[in-house]
């Protein structure tokens, strides 16, 4: 890990540990904006790891950003931190200034497109399921203008909002723009196409899932050591041990796949690794959450227990920015187009 990565890791762990409490998570689910947490993240320099220092960021790499994003997933931090990190990176890459405050991304669903009208001065179109669409200060949209992917910054209040929620009761709002004023716009950085939000959104969701799976494993192992039945800790039963070993395998695979994708993002177009990571972490999310709930029994099924803060996020994140099957199809199309003889050379070149 880089020096910056180590520093970020220490900071996020301390900060999330202090501020992401059960009470804070429950309040966020009721609609409260965790202002104290967000301000602490901004003051700690954690919201802009990829923005150059000259523009007020940490000047780091994707490998550094992964530390922050994975920790956010591990703690179920109920703020658009991953979205802000990607949005700020898009802005900076397009040569635009990064505003303070939480940012979000649009569109997040494949197949939805936004257009720039009036020579780039106005945004048109509708984006569904936008994370913190109403609560974020600004929306960073990837829109089409003259056939090019263009990054456009709009104020959150410029959209007509239809509120929505994810399984984890995080905001996922529908935003509709009708000639909404664009604050700034510029062509996306070289190499970024219309699918960039899908790719980089899937990238951060993979790391968030890896983090949440770490939390799920911790909770399940701890519970298996504490809960006693038939006169002994349930973790001493082979049936439970075998399940937790499988869970540990999924957690390890999700973490490795996510780390691989972030490393690739520092080096080249990471589409292959991101697809692999979203597929692998998504499957781990499904299987891992099921095992954790099986081990916890009825108590883990209650709102009172904290397991669901991680598992409900896993269930929602695995579907966001493309399901496993969609990314598997993307990857499969790429593999089939290259043919069987290219498979091994391509795989080892990554």
């Amino acid at each position: 890990m880089s020096e910056l990565g180590t520093l970020l890791a220490d900071t996020v762990t301390r900060l999330f540990g202090d501020l992401v409490t059960k009470e804070a998570l429950e309040a966020a689910e009721q609609g409260a904006w965790p202002d104290k947490l967000w301000r602490a993240l901004e003051e700690g320099g954690l919201t802009l790891p990829l923005v150059p220092e000259a523009q007020g960021g940490a000047g780091g790499r994707w490998e550094d950003a992964e530390v922050v994003v994975r920790a956010a997933g591990r703690h179920a931090a109920s703020v658009p931190l991953a979205e802000t990190i990607v949005a700020a990176w898009l802005l900076a890459g397009a040569g635009l200034e990064v505003p303070t405050g939480p940012l979000t991304l649009a569109p997040v669903r494949a197949g939805e497109t936004l257009r720039l009208a009036r020579k780039g001065a106005a945004l048109e179109g509708t984006a569904t399921r936008v994370p913190w669409g109403a609560a974020a200060g600004h929306v960073v949209a990837l829109a089409e203008a003259d056939g090019r992917a263009t990054v456009a910054l709009v104020a959150a209040g410029a959209a007509r909002v239809t509120p929505g929620k994810s399984l984890a009761l995080e905001p996922r709002d529908t935003l509709a723009w009708d000639a909404a004023p664009v604050l700034a716009a510029a062509p996306a950085a070289a190499g970024l196409g219309a699918d960039a939000l899908q790719v980089y959104g899937a990238l951060v969701r993979a790391a968030q899932m890896a983090g949440a799976l770490e939390s799920v494993l911790d909770q399940a192992v701890r519970y298996a050591g504490e809960r006693r039945q038939f006169g002994r800790a349930i973790g001493s039963f082979q049936a439970i041990q075998q399940q937790l070993a499988v869970l540990a395998g999924h957690v390890a695979a999700a973490g490795t796949a996510a780390a691989h994708a972030f490393r690739a993002a520092d080096r080249r177009d990471p589409a292959f690794e991101v697809a692999a990571a979203k597929v692998r972490a998504g499957e781990a999310a499904g299987a891992g959450a099921a095992i954790a709930h099986a081990v916890h029994g009825a108590i883990g099924f209650t709102y009172e227990h904290s397991l669901h803060f991680a598992t409900r996020r896993l269930w929602s994140w695995r579907a966001e920015f493309g399901s496993e099957s969609r990314w598997a199809a993307t990857l499969g199309r790429a593999v089939l187009a290259r043919g069987a003889d290219a498979l091994w050379p391509d795989l080892t070149a990554r």
Binding site: L213, E214, L217, D218, V221, A224, G225, G235, S236, Q238, I240, Q241, Q242, L244, A245, V246, A248, G249, H250, V251, A252, A253, G255, T256, A257, A259, H260, R263, F272, E273, A275, A276, A277, V279, R280, G282, E283, G286, S323, E324, S325, R326, W327, A328, A329, T330, L331, G332, R333, A334, V335, L336, A337, G339, A340, L343, W344, L347, T348, R350
Partner: protein, 425 residues
């Protein structure tokens, strides 16, 4: 935190340069090897091939030069292994010696044993088998009963080993025997020996597997004499040594590449005949829908595609595409995990737990690959040539797959090791 740590490992430029060299070698050497033969992975046994690999310096790569080794890095060795396995090279005649027996002798053998055996291993001339399991001792390895009793100048051995792969083709066996019976302490009193399989008192009988192949054997010892200087390590140290030895075989690319040949054939089939898919779509839809429910998550993508009104164009190809993509995603991940373990070995760490995780996740993937193909395609697995490559490779792997989670420690034993690493036992 309980999550195991897998640090990503970059292969050094020297290893990548070596990869090109290995590929050129394999392209030339394997040009006549049929695809179904390549599915045999490390089951293929070809002494002539192993001697050529030895001549290239690719056996005992990390060992000291004074024993015929080449003092190259674990990561360079990793590249050679993964290229050999991906190409389906017949590595069986040097596989066990390179992976287990040689490292065991390096760690616990006497100087005389190293000088006698290691150079011949690196030349690809000496094949080893492993004698651990017995008729009544599998996962509970410490319960073995084959006795090695001290006699003048050595030991007299009586008992039976089973599942001994390649005992009928290897020159030597590294065997675990009981040299002392310690009541209620079954892990004590075990010792390891180098056994010349041509010595008197040893009978090797084939155990034919369900696919009709002869890999396994039963090795019976009746008053077989083993000279004292062929004991490996101290008397009574066998358990410690054998658990170290088993860790050598848990993390490598062989733990996720066993079904790679089938994945290749799936991609070949799907990529080559795109026009056929549409025509059979309607007829297959009903039959396949029934199996779809049991397919893994990737094929849930087919249900999504089922909402696409353009059925004829979309469905079967979409399924194949999703399945291939999903398998590649798993393979790419496993390769990174396995590489990370190789990196830890290179760094002198002891990643026993991480290696067990790789093997558990890797063998699950290996076993799932034939299931995905079954659920996806209307192909019949065939026991030999005569159909297509896909049919034959599928036939081979369907029959081999049950062994993937048995060899080198069962899935349940591995998960027990992982559970111990989680602090549960």
């Amino acid at each position: 935190m309980h999550a195991f740590r897998f640090d990503l490992t970059d292969l050094p430029p020297a290893a990548e340069a070596l990869r090109a060299e290995v590929r050129d070698f394999l392209r030339a050497e394997l040009k006549d090897r049929r695809r179904a033969e390549r599915a045999d992975s490390w089951g293929g046994f070809d002494p002539a091939f192993s001697r050529k690999v030895g001549a290239r310096g690719w056996i005992g790569m990390t060992w000291p030069t004074r024993y015929g080794g080449h003092e190259r890095s674990f990561l360079e060795r990793y590249v050679v292994l993964e290229e050999m396995l991906a190409a389906g090279a017949p590595v069986g005649a040097h596989w066990v010696a390179d992976r287990q027996s040689g490292p065991l002798l390096l760690r616990f053998g006497t100087e005389a044993q190293r000088e006698r055996f290691l150079p011949a291993i690196t030349r690809g001339e000496l094949a080893f088998a492993i004698g651990m399991s017995e008729p009544d001792s599998g996962s509970d390895l410490a319960s073995i009963r084959t006795r090695a009793e001290r006699v003048d100048g050595g030991y007299r051995v009586n008992g039976t080993k089973v599942w001994t792969s390649n005992a009928h083709r290897a020159q030597y066996l590294i065997a675990l025997f009981r040299t002392q019976v310690v009541p209620d302490k079954k892990h004590e009193g075990l010792s390891q020996f180098l056994v010349d399989l041509s010595s008197p008192g040893i009978t090797i009988r084939p155990i034919i597997d369900l696919g009709g192949a002869h890999h396994f054997n039963e090795v019976v010892f009746e008053d077989a004499l083993i000279p004292e200087d062929l004991r490996v390590g101290g008397e009574g140290d066998g358990w410690k040594q054998v658990t170290t030895e088993l860790a050598f075989e848990r993390s490598g690319p062989e733990r996720y590449l066993s079904s790679f040949a089938l994945l290749l054939e799936l991609v070949r089939r799907e990529a080559a005949r795109p026009s056929e898919r549409g025509t059979v779509a309607a007829g297959r839809l009903v039959a396949h829908l029934a199996t779809l429910r049991q397919m893994s998550l990737a094929v849930a993508g087919m249900l999504e595609a089922g909402q696409n009104p353009n059925l004829e164009a979309a469905r079967p190809s979409e399924r194949g595409t999703v399945a291939a993509g999903r398998l590649v995603a798993h393979l790419a991940t496993l390769r990174q995990m396995s590489l990370a373990v190789a990196g830890m070995l290179e760094a002198g760490q002891n990643p026993n737990l991480e290696a067990a995780v790789v093997k558990d996740v890797g063998t699950a993937f290996e076993q799932e690959t034939p299931e995905v193909v079954h659920a996806l395609l209307d192909v019949e697995p065939l026991p030999g040539a005569g159909g297509g490559d896909l049919e034959e490779v599928l036939g081979y792997l369907v029959q081999r797959a049950p062994s993937f989670s048995l060899r080198g420690g069962t899935r349940e034993i591995l998960r027990g090791i992982i559970a111990r690493g989680l602090g549960l036992r």
